[in-house]
Structures are given as structure tokens and as C-alpha cells.
């Protein structure tokens, strides 16, 4: 069966992300004739000798005017091995929030570095974002290798530099590939202009990546989206029907399983798993299903149904790491809304415990967080939630901070401080005694 892989690009502005995505689509024959004609026409109008493949994803008027990517473009393609959802993200610091958007659902981040310039502040920031979000895989594309005459020594110097930076942010399993996105070397086919490189092309690498972990061995978590109670509306047969609808975020549930509902802590037994008229014996992540339970306990939207064998504790106090995505500054004492699973609660920022210094990968003391800062916060919630460490659960460990007034999304939050701990550890280990 063909598996699905979600990929996001990252890296500093102009390092060639959109060109690479365009090349990947074009060389894998995934660009349809009218799309290519349109790109060729626009390229010709601008006096370019050949089609600018970045235009396959840079589709907004202002992106084309400025020659940069502003927001994520999603493209779809498939090979015999795999289906891909490509999110081409912007490199510009001003649009970091869009890159965080693209990376949050990715199985793999493809981080580009211009071989002539090496690592930039945005390269570090995106590495930090990938590490913070626990994106399962990161691959570094050392791009524009054509501009240094396919020189191995230059490639090695840059790739070593990026790998060192990745390690300082807790990313150890990182591959690097020498590429010319413009000319296509090592994108779909291996290039004979880099005989010293014996790894796979980028596409082969992506096709061979182990698919995102199958979280069925993890304990059951199902955030309740809504309670389905047709009453009179679906005829006599369903008059007393009561089901709890939601998408399983991790684990497996079977009829007969003992479950507990958080935050109330009440327990019951699963008597039915329904999906659109079909009764299932079992269901697993990420299926959307409806559960029926033996007891008429009080359950509503926002509750979390979990296996009784592993019940997350509820808490009103959260230590977390956030990527602050709003233009204004966050200071202690700010009131926000926190969305966790299907629950939204009031929250107060009690303290800011420091922010990540990208240059040296260190935790610096901080009294406030500004746009694009990654930092540590302590939150007090009005209502307890069953929060788990993001390190162990990318679903029940994630939260949003939302502006209660205009509804804007302020921050991506992760329960716990694994990244900042890593940084502190690596940092102190690197300091000579």
C-alpha cells in the first residue's frame, strides 16, 4: 500500500526552497501541461531564458512581484512508492509563522542551505522549529552546488557546519545531500557531476524514509469533539442513542475496553464503536469514530477519553515551550485562551523563563517574548486539562495560545521544556571544564 508522507521546506530566504519543490514536481512528471505553460509564459515575460520553477508554488501576486515566498503553498504528487503532500514554506523571517504552520504537520523537514553562504540565522531558527515541533525527520539539502563547481570540499564544510548546529539543538539523525535545485542534480536522479557523493537523490531518500511512527502501541487518546444524540431526529431505533464523536489521536480502542474520561476521572466500558452506520470491533489513530459507553456518565466536548490503563494527570499549571507568532510582545500577567485538543480554557502567563538564543543555541534570561522568539513560559489555567509532555505525545502535548479579544492565534505551544533542556545540556557539555 502506498503510504503518505508530509514534507515541509525550510531554510533562509532565497536558498532555493521553491525552486527545489518545482524541480521535484517537474522531474517527477507531476506538473500538468497548462500549469507549465503558464509558468513558462510568465518567465518569458520577465526575460528569463528558461521556466522559473519556483513559480509553480509562488502563486500569489505579491510573491511573484517580490520574488519571494510569503505563505505556504501545498502541492500533491505521487510516485509508485509514495504519495506526498509538499508544503513549500517561506524563508523570510517576517513569515516565520507560516513556516511553523507548514512544519507543524510535517513528517519530514527539508532544510535548504545555500552552499555559498552556509548557515544563516533563519537556518538556525528553522532547525530550532523542527526540533521543537519534534518533526520526525530532518534532511539538509546543500543547494546551488552548481555555483561552486560541484566542489566536494565546500560541500563538506557547509554540511559539517549545519550538522553541528543541528546537534546543538538536539537533532542527531540528519542526512545531507548536495543538490542543484536549478539544474536538477540529485533531486530526482543522482547526478554524475557529484561523483564523490554516494548517497541517494532527494526523492529516493524521501521514498525510503520510514513512515511516520504508527502510534498504535501508545495509549488510547480521543478528544471528544461532540456528543451525538439524535433524539427524535433519526427515528425510533436511535431515540436513546448517545455517542461520543472524535478523532483518535493515539492508540487503539476495542469494544469491551475500560476507558476513563478526563478531567472528570469517571470510568466506563466501550460498548460500541460506530462509523457512519458500521459497527467496528476496533479503531485506531487517526480514525474519526463515535464511541458508545456502558454508563450514562457526563461527557461533553473538550473531554478526553483515554484507556483506563494509562490515565494522564490533570493539571492547572503548565510549564511549556512556545513559539511566539504575534507582532506584539508577550509579558507576564497576560491573559490568553489556551486550546488543547478540543478544549479551550482561560489562561494566565505567570512567568517567562527565558528564550532561545539562536546564535549560540543557549537559553537566555528574558522578561518578555517578541515576534518569532522561542521561549519558556509558565501558565496557570482556569480549568484543569489532561496535558502530557509533547516529548511523548505530539497531540495531547500541543496547545495554541489565542487572543481572547480578536481571536488571533498567538503561539504554538508544547507542554514541557525538552528543547530548552537539550540546549542547556549540550551547551554545558560543550563548555570546557
Amino acid at each position: 500500500m502506498r503510504t503518505l508522507l508530509r514534507l515541509a521546506t525550510a531554510g533562509s530566504v532565497d536558498d532555493g526552497k521553491s525552486t527545489l519543490v518545482g524541480r521535484l514536481l517537474y522531474d517527477s512528471k507531476s506538473v500538468l501541461a497548462d500549469q507549465f505553460d503558464a509558468v513558462e509564459r510568465v518567465s518569458r515575460d520577465r526575460g528569463l531564458a528558461s521556466a522559473d520553477l519556483a513559480l509553480l508554488t509562488d502563486g500569489l501576486r505579491s510573491e511573484r512581484e517580490q520574488g519571494i515566498t510569503i505563505d505556504v503553498a501545498y502541492r500533491y504528487f505521487a510516485t509508485a512508492e509514495r504519495s506526498f503532500i509538499l508544503a513549500d514554506c517561506p524563508g523570510h523571517v517576517q513569515y516565520t509563522r507560516n513556516t511553523v504552520t507548514g512544519a507543524s504537520t510535517a513528517d519530514v523537514v527539508v532544510l535548504l542551505v545555500d552552499v555559498r553562504h552556509g548557515i544563516q540565522e533563519q537556518t538556525r531558527r528553522h532547525l530550532a522549529v523542527a526540533s521543537l515541533l519534534r518533526v520526525p525527520h530532518v534532511v539538509v539539502v546543500v543547494n546551488k552546488i552548481d555555483l561552486v563547481d560541484f566542489d566536494e570540499a565546500t560541500y563538506t564544510r557547509v554540511s559539517d557546519e549545519v550538522l553541528a548546529s543541528a546537534r546543538s539543538l538536539g537533532l542527531y539523525d540528519v542526512a545531507t545531500i548536495p543538490v542543484s535545485a536549478l539544474a536538477g542534480d540529485n533531486v530526482v536522479e543522482r547526478s554524475d557531476r557529484t561523483p564523490w557523493y554516494d548517497g541517494p537523490s532527494l526523492l529516493t531518500f524521501l521514498e525510503q524514509l520510514s513512515p511516520a511512527g504508527s502510534p498504535h502501541s501508545e495509549p488510547l487518546r480521543l478528544p471528544v469533539q461532540l456528543v451525538i444524540r439524535p433524539q427524535q431526529a433519526a427515528g425510533d431505533e436511535f431515540r436513546d442513542y448517545r455517542g461520543y464523536a472524535g478523532q483518535i489521536t493515539s492508540g487503539l480502542v476495542r469494544v469491551g475496553d475500560a476507558v476513563t474520561v478526563q478531567p472528570s476521572g469517571r470510568s466506563s466500558t466501550v460498548t460500541g464503536i460506530d462509523f457512519a452506520g458500521a459497527s467496528l470491533d476496533e479503531a485506531f489513530a487517526p480514525q474519526s469514530v463515535t464511541l458508545r459507553l456502558a454508563d450514562d456518565i457526563d461527557i461533553s466536548r473538550g473531554d478526553l477519553i483515554v484507556t483506563s490503563r494509562s490515565v494522564p494527570a490533570v493539571t492547572q499549571d503548565i510549564d511549556g515551550t512556545i513559539a511566539w507568532l504575534a507582532d506584539h510582545t508577550l509579558v507576564p500577567g497576560t491573559k490568553v485562551l489556551l486550546k488543547h485538543g478540543t478544549k479551550t480554557v482561560q489562561a494566565m502567563v505567570k512567568a517567562i523563563g527565558g528564550k532561545l538564543d539562536l546564535e549560540d543555541a543557549r537559553l537566555l534570561p528574558a522578561e518578555s517574548l517578541g515576534l518569532n522568539d522561542i521561549g519558556h513560559v509558565t501558565l496557570r489555567l482556569a480549568t484543569p486539562i489532561p496535558a502530557e509532555e509533547y516529548l511523548h505525545s505530539r497531540d495531547t502535548g500541543a496547545f495554541l495560545l489565542i487572543d481572547g479579544q480578536d481571536g488571533g492565534t498567538l503561539a504554538a505551544g508544547m507542554v514541557g521544556d525538552a528543547l530548552l533542556d537539550t540546549v542547556a545540556e549540550v551547551g554545558s557539555a560543550a563548555t570546557p571544564a
Binding site: R61, A73, S83, S214, P230, G246, Q287, G408
Partner: protein
């Protein structure tokens, strides 16, 4: 096969599950959602997903059709039969009414896809709809490729592509100020091929014109236009009977048919898998107007 392999969703199941999650989020978090339903294949699939999302309860929101007045009769009949079968309330926002009372003027080329924006926005405001499900897919067009699943519209219905909300994980944020609304696209990650494979897998009924049939057509702007009340051949355009089908359904006066022998869903899947043209490129004259035609329309509040 190991156990974990068996417990892996197929691509279609994954897309279905994601869409149902999105639809349920909207039903739970908004006061007055509505689903845009034209009888076209994407809206049919979206409505099918909604019936699955709430089973055994009925779909808990009405549907709305922005009627250009330039319809394919079989699509309108299909729309009405579907609404009737599912016991839904149908709101119709009629472009013809706007033209009749002078709020809109007929365009010089006589086509009406562009004229849908105002009736759509008024229909949203008048009914106080705060969430509007659209069947748009990111693979359709380059401006659509940029849009969030939950896409905020200001009080004028405008989309600001330069300033979209971050959208993180599957934690959708539908908060908005009074007067604003949110467009929601449950099929964002579906391709045309996914839609057809799903139609086959679920045995979903569609208007007959999606399958190959004999039809009187003439060629205009490189497209095959059906002869009808709203689309008569001009001088020099000759009418022929050809074996065609439709890949999209819109204003009948400017939506092109494609030549096809695909009379079954399996044959359509094979055809779509081998196509060299995008569905809009092959069938929509209005999208060819300019490079950024779709983006400009979307900024004003179009679907």
C-alpha cells in the same frame, strides 16, 4: 503483514478521517454553519462526508447554493433530489434576482461565475452564517494552494492572503469577531484523483454529466460548450454532436466539456490519472482571464 501494517489507514481513509474531524470541529464550535452545495462533485463528496460525520443524527446545518441562473438542468434536479433525500434546508442565493432588480449588471460576455460573489456574501450576512463550508481543493489552482483549512474573512468577506492566521497541527482556531466569518475547506488536501477514487469507493451518485454522453456542443476559446438557452453558437461556431463529459460544473455558458469515452467511474479514474491538463485549465474560461484571476476573486470574497 505485521499488525502495524494492517492498522494503517489508506490514503483515502486518512483524507476522509481528516475531513470528518474538520466538519465536526465546525459543527461544535460555530453557531450557524452552512455548507455550499451546488451539485458539483466536490460539494457532493463534502456533503457525503457530513452525513458520515454525524451518523445517526442528521446533518446539523443547512446548505446554500449560489445559483448563477446558468445551470445544467440535470445538476439542479440532482441538487433538489439530494436535499430532499437528506431532509436538509436549502438556501438559494440567486444571481438572476440581483440582475432582475438591478443590483448586478450582466457582464458583456454574458458569463456569471464572477457575479456570484455578492449574492454569496449577502446570503452569508443575511442568514448570519458564521462558518461556510466550501469544496475548494488546494490542487485546483495556485491561489487555492495557499489557503488555510480555516480561512478567516473580514466583515466585507475579504481574504487577505498576505496575513493569514497560523494553522498549527490539527488545532483549528475558528474564533472571529462579530461580522467576520470563516470559510472552511474540508477537502483542502484532496486531489481530483482522490475525489474520484472516493466516489468509486463509496459508490456516491453524481449528476450524469460527469460521465461520457452524447451532447450538442460547439467550440469556443478552445473549449467545448454545450448548446443551451444560455449558450448559443455565434457566427462561425459550428454545432456538433460529440461524446463528452464534464470535469467541473459551473456556469453552463462558460464551463467546457472534455471529449471522453469514460462512461463509468473506473474509466473516469483512469482518464483523470492520465490527464495532462488541470481540471480548471481544461474547463474554465474565466480562470484564463489573467494570471491572478482566482486570487483577485478570492480576495473579494469568492469561494
Amino acid at each position: 503483514m505485521t499488525l502495524t501494517d494492517e492498522r494503517r489507514l489508506t490514503q483515502l481513509q486518512w483524507l476522509e478521517s481528516e475531513a470528518i474531524h474538520i466538519i465536526r470541529e465546525v459543527a461544535a464550535e460555530f453557531e450557524r454553519p452552512v455548507l455550499l452545495f451546488s451539485g458539483g462533485k466536490d460539494s457532493v463528496v463534502m456533503l457525503h462526508l457530513a452525513t458520515k460525520a454525524f451518523w445517526p443524527a442528521p446533518v446539523p446545518f443547512p446548505v446554500m447554493h449560489v445559483d448563477t441562473g446558468h445551470n445544467f438542468p440535470e445538476v439542479l434536479a440532482f441538487r433538489d433530489a439530494t436535499v430532499e433525500r437528506l431532509g436538509l434546508r436549502l438556501e438559494v442565493a440567486s444571481v438572476q434576482d440581483y440582475i432582475d432588480d438591478g443590483r448586478l449588471r450582466e457582464r458583456s460576455d454574458g458569463t456569471r461565475n464572477q457575479l456570484q460573489t455578492q449574492p454569496l456574501l449577502d446570503g452569508i450576512t443575511d442568514n448570519k452564517f458564521d462558518a461556510v463550508f466550501g469544496g475548494g481543493r488546494r490542487d485546483e489552482e495556485k491561489a487555492r494552494a495557499k489557503e488555510r483549512v480555516f480561512s478567516l474573512r473580514d466583515e466585507f468577506g475579504q481574504w487577505d492572503p498576505r496575513n493569514q492566521r497560523p494553522e498549527l497541527w490539527n488545532l483549528y482556531n475558528g474564533r472571529h469577531r462579530p461580522g467576520e466569518h470563516v470559510r472552511v475547506f474540508p477537502l483542502s488536501n484532496w486531489t481530483e484523483l482522490d475525489v474520484w477514487q472516493y466516489i468509486a469507493a463509496e459508490d456516491i451518485a453524481l449528476p450524469e454529466l460527469y460521465y461520457a454522453h452524447q451532447r450538442e456542443v460547439f467550440e469556443r476559446d478552445g473549449m467545448l460548450i454545450s448548446v443551451s438557452d444560455v449558450s448559443q453558437p455565434r457566427e462561425g461556431e459550428t454545432v456538433e454532436k460529440r461524446q463528452v463529459r464534464y470535469r467541473t460544473v459551473g456556469d453552463a455558458s462558460c464551463t467546457g466539456a472534455v471529449e471522453s469515452d469514460a462512461t463509468t467511474v473506473e474509466a473516469v479514474i483512469a482518464e483523470v490519472a492520465g490527464t495532462r491538463l488541470t481540471e480548471r485549465g481544461a474547463t474554465r474560461a474565466d480562470d484564463r482571464a489573467s494570471e491572478a484571476a482566482m486570487e483577485d476573486r478570492k480576495k473579494e470574497g469568492y469561494f
